[in-house]
């Protein structure tokens, strides 16, 4: 079992182009790479500042992509985790509240623990009780949002050690800030887990055909727990980073994160039904989205127009999927055949 989509591409390909086609057919990131190239070209021509101020662009990619990376672990199994945005908010509030009373290290641990607890509850309802993950995590989304307000007393919680927060937002390695470095470290960790570790590789099997995964002896419930823990902990890390970097934890934080994360995963070629996709794809999706958002922001393009751009790219990502294209082609062929037959009569 690998993390690549296995599509039957006919007999063994030979020659460079044959091998190239085989690789393209096996990967789900093909469309994402094409979209990335188109967006990069557009951005290079229209707003080169996106590249010259690349540390800012990387920061935006990390902002969008971090939660998306964790979310992909769940999506690969055909599940959804809508609670990530609220997990982000509540973990930030917990981190800063506890840090103000003790120290930052304890605050971070408390927030990570909260992320684990949230994921365990989500996974319990999905894997043990059997509730649809959309519904279970939707409930958690509201519950955690309320909890963030209660803990924060309905107001942003200021980090008392402001200097620490300001320092955290400064470049640490070359032009790279801790947020960007953590983002890449998490990408590498999840990528290795999903592609190299047996438990991770089984995510795709669970998403592809759950019954077959059961029959093959894969501990499906345990894998679902693992996926939700990855998603919850990564969302908690994102919440901690946001709160520390902004020197304040906002209970309303993450309001735009959920849709952006799903968009990054979908643009990256991940199937919401599970079984197909990759962490690399999500990285490319987040990079495409981040670059586009920075370019549009610099251009002063208003939010409704930005949404049209992003929606358009999402649509392109979905309709250019080979199975969608085959379905469209099949439908068109049937229609034309019907017209042809009618005319012949």
């Amino acid at each position: 079992m690998t993390n690549q989509t296995v599509i039957k591409v006919g007999s063994t390909a030979t020659g460079f182009w044959g091998k190239f086609r085989t690789v393209l057919a096996r990967r789900t990131e093909g469309r994402a790479i094409v979209l990335f190239a188109i967006i990069a070209t557009f951005v290079t021509v229209s707003q080169p500042l996106v590249f010259t101020a690349y540390q800012v662009t990387l920061g935006r990619i990390a902002l969008i992509g971090l939660v998306a990376l964790g979310l992909t672990a769940v999506i690969l199994m055909g599940e959804l985790d809508l609670s990530v945005a609220s997990t982000l908010a509540v973990s930030g509030v917990i981190a800063v509240t506890v840090a103000n009373q003790t120290n930052m290290a304890i605050g971070v641990l408390a927030a990570l623990a909260a992320g684990v607890v949230v994921s365990l509850i989500n996974a319990f309802f999905v894997a043990i009780v059997g509730i649809n993950s959309f519904i279970a995590t939707l409930g958690m989304l509201f519950a955690l949002r309320g909890m963030a307000f209660v803990i924060s007393d309905e107001a942003p919680v200021k980090l008392e050690n402001t200097d620490l927060g300001i320092a955290f937002g400064q470049p640490l390695l070359g032009p790279l800030t801790p947020r960007i470095l953590i983002f890449f470290l998490i990408f590498i960790a999840i990528q290795i887990f999903v592609s190299r570790v047996k438990a991770g590789r089984e995510f795709l099997a669970v998403g592809g055909n759950r019954q077959a995964a059961y029959d093959a002896g894969i501990p499906v419930k345990r894998r679902i727990f693992t996926g939700f823990i990855i998603s919850g902990v990564v969302a908690a890390i994102a919440g901690i980073i946001n709160a520390v970097e902004r020197t304040s934890a906002d209970p309303t934080s993450g309001s735009t994160v959920l849709l952006a994360s799903f968009a990054a995963a979908i643009i990256g070629g991940n199937y919401l039904k599970g079984g197909k996709g990759s962490i690399v794809g999500t990285l490319i999706g987040a990079a495409s989205l981040g670059m586009l958002q920075v370019a549009l922001t610099i251009s002063g393009v208003q939010i409704p127009i930005q949404e049209i751009f992003i929606g358009g790219i999402l649509l392109i990502a979905v309709i250019t999927d080979p199975s969608s294209l085959r379905a469209v082609w099949g439908s068109l062929s049937t229609t034309f055949q019907g017209i042809k037959n009618s005319l012949a009569k």
């Binding site: 690789v23 927060g165 300001i166 937002g169 946001n242 020197t247």
Partner: protein, 344 residues
């Protein structure tokens, strides 16, 4: 082996891109410096134009922003300012990212309307480090951060709460009255300031007014109606004599909640803030006893004018100018006057 290459490829590409881009960045830095000198030389002949970023939390997606942004743009066109306007939709993290972009673009100035008051310190520090002046609009900064900005223009949000409370106190007189209080969105600095202004003034001027319960809303009429209805149920309609709402949309929702219980809103002491298209007719009709005029066009226009004053040196370096919007009380006596005609 092939899998390893596929996994490593994006990382290698990103690293290579970072190296190439850092080269581009250095080149760009030199180019910008040169371009800067050229601009300075030519300013003697051509009227100077300024590049300004306006980091707003709303735009045409909200009623206030719909009138705020055109006024801001009109003033910019008049004063020779090229505005780049962003809208963070009240997401503090998004606004922080937009601020990083703005600082990287090296504009002449940044106009900031804080999405979350507590979260703007890093943005202000980054702008100061880059030598970019920042002015604040609509919701002022917290005291600890004010030194990092060159001025504020907009409503006196605390004063608006005070004015609304003064209307309430004047109406109530010495009669003991229980009221419920509906605030704006949780964590929003305008909501917090108005809340503080109202409660401080009630405590000082009319302690006979008791606030039975206060709850947050999301500034919308629909949510306010639901929240007010729940508060009325919790406290009992007979125990409530009045309502304070943080803005007119909230007041309209609270009035609808009262009327759905079969009572007449005019029999209650109700005050709010905004004097909007929704609130002003309620004052004229007598359902709302008073509101406080807030001009979205004044707000947008003066945000640009304040930045212009900073850029042209009218406000000297090291000084901080504060320009409050007049907070006119609007009651049945003046609600139909032309000078308080609603704008949004």
């Amino acid at each position: 082996m092939r899998k390893s290459r596929l996994v490593l490829a994006p990382a290698v590409m990103l690293a290579a891109a970072a190296l190439v881009l850092s080269g581009c960045a250095a080149a760009e830095e030199e180019t910008t410096t040169d371009a800067g000198s050229t601009t300075t030389d030519s300013t003697e002949e051509v009227a100077e134009t300024y590049e300004v970023f306006a980091l707003l939390p709303q735009g045409s997606d909200q009623a206030y922003g719909t009138f705020y942004v055109p006024a801001m743009e009109a003033a910019a066109a008049e004063l020779g300012i090229n505005l780049t306007i962003t809208n963070s939709q009240y997401d503090g993290d998004k606004q922080a990212s937009e601020c990083e972009i703005a600082v990287a673009a090296k504009p002449d100035g940044i106009i900031l309307w804080p999405a979350v008051g507590d979260a703007v310190r890093p943005c202000l520090e980054a702008a100061e480090a880059a030598g970019i002046p920042v002015t604040v609009t609509n919701s002022d900064l917290f005291d600890a951060d004010k030194a990092l900005s060159r001025g504020y223009s907009g409503p006196d949000t605390y004063g608006q709460g005070v004015s609304s409370a003064e209307i309430m106190c004047e109406l109530v007189g010495d009669t003991p009255v229980n009221i419920i209080q509906l605030n704006g969105a949780p964590g929003n600095s305008t909501a917090i300031d108005r809340d503080n202004g109202f409660t401080d003034t009630v405590a000082a001027n009319c302690p006979n007014v008791t606030i039975l319960q206060e709850e947050s809303t999301d500034w919308t009429k629909a949510t306010a109606q639901q929240v007010a209805s729940e508060m009325i149920t919790a406290q009992g309609i007979d125990n409530i004599g009045g309502i304070y709402a943080a803005d007119d949309s909230i007041a309209a929702g609270a009035i609808a909640a009262l009327e759905s219980r079969g009572v007449v809103a005019a029999d209650y002491f109700i005050t709010s803030i905004g004097n909007t298209f929704l609130g002003n007719p309620l004052v004229v009709a007598g359902s709302l006893d008073g509101t406080v005029f807030q001009s979205s066009s004044w707000d947008g226009e003066n945000a640009t004018r304040l930045m212009y004053a900073v850029l042209t040196g009218e406000i000297a370096a090291g000084e901080r100018e504060v320009k409050f919007m007049p907070s006119v009380k609007v009651t049945a006596g003046n609600a139909s006057d032309a000078d308080v005609a609603p704008e949004w």
